[in-house]
């Protein structure tokens, strides 16, 4: 494995480059097909509202997939991710318009661990709300 970032070059508090990801209804249809998760709350507004949601929501796993890109883009090698976990705290509501929703992801090194690994603490926000809680990755650096 060949991470671009060296363990010695980071400190607790080092910030990773933040990224913002867009998500529209079309994105969700494409993700449903690729992932095999066809739950109608992710594409059928009538169904989503019937079960008490404000509108169609993004798959939690879609949001989880976007958030880790901040780490994999930083480190270069996606296989350097040793652990990754999140809590789904709020849904990402995706309106039926040209803009859709955005997911803003920031991340910083929360701890330096053994064996050249670091814990990265992630924050994912959408519409001013934290959509992932306890979002952490352990990644092996060079």
């Amino acid at each position: 494995m060949t991470a671009k970032i060296s363990y010695d070059a980071v400190e607790v508090g080092t910030e990773l480059p933040a990224q913002t990801f867009g998500v529209t209804r079309a994105t969700l249809v494409q993700y449903a097909g690729a992932s095999g998760d066809f739950n109608p709350i992710h594409w059928n507004e009538k169904f989503a509202k019937e079960v008490g949601l404000p509108d169609v929501i993004a798959h939690g796993m879609f949001t989880m997939a976007e958030a880790i890109r901040v780490v994999t883009d930083w480190v270069g090698d996606p296989g350097a991710v040793v652990e990754y976990g999140v809590r789904f705290t709020k849904p990402v509501v995706v309106p039926n318009d040209d803009q859709g929703a955005t997911i803003e992801v920031t991340a910083k090194v929360g701890a330096k661990l053994d064996d050249n690994t670091v814990r990265v603490d992630l924050t994912a926000m959408s519409a001013g709300q934290k959509v992932l809680g306890m979002s952490r990755a352990v990644v092996r650096l060079a």
Partner: protein, 150 residues
């Protein structure tokens, strides 16, 4: 109705192998908008030390979730799947999933809790390759919301 605690610790037989294809990985990477060449270009993956293209970290969920579905739909357990939401998700990787892998999942119920009428189920999926080597463990927390008026 609270779920039967005697299901805690129960393991289900390994799933039939899921064969990971290059084009399925490409489709997933495109769906999440991730242009990392390790997902689509075998040479780029080889430059990182892998024998073939690798999958994004969350790709394996589509395999482990399908396996967890066997647990969730076990009629003896009696979970109301129409009310289930995804609470937490965690992965621990021995190595990335890659094209050509034939993966089996062994699911185990780790915990069952009842909280304010909600049923909370923790399922662990152990993913192994054809050689029997561990690839990744997935922990999935499912929450079945209490039915109205229950």
């Amino acid at each position: 109705m609270a779920l039967d605690q005697s299901f805690v610790g129960r393991s289900y037989p390994p799933t039939d192998p899921y064969e990971v294809g290059r084009e399925k990985i490409r489709e997933f990477a495109e769906a999440v908008g991730d242009a990392n060449p390790a997902y689509t270009d075998p040479d780029a993956a080889k430059a990182l030390g892998y024998p073939d293209v690798i999958a994004p970290p969350t790709f394996v969920f589509s395999i482990t979730f399908k396996a967890a579905g066997v647990v969730v739909s076990d009629p003896q357990l009696g979970l109301d799947y129409s009310r289930v939401v995804h609470g937490d998700q965690k992965f621990a990787y021995t190595r990335p999933v890659r094209a050509g892998d034939r993966l089996t999942v062994t699911s185990t119920i780790e915990a069952i809790k009842s909280l304010a009428g909600n049923d909370i189920l923790d399922v662990r999926g152990e993913v192994h390759d054809e050689a029997g080597e561990h690839v990744v463990t997935a922990w999935t927390k499912l929450v079945a919301r209490a039915a109205e008026g229950a």
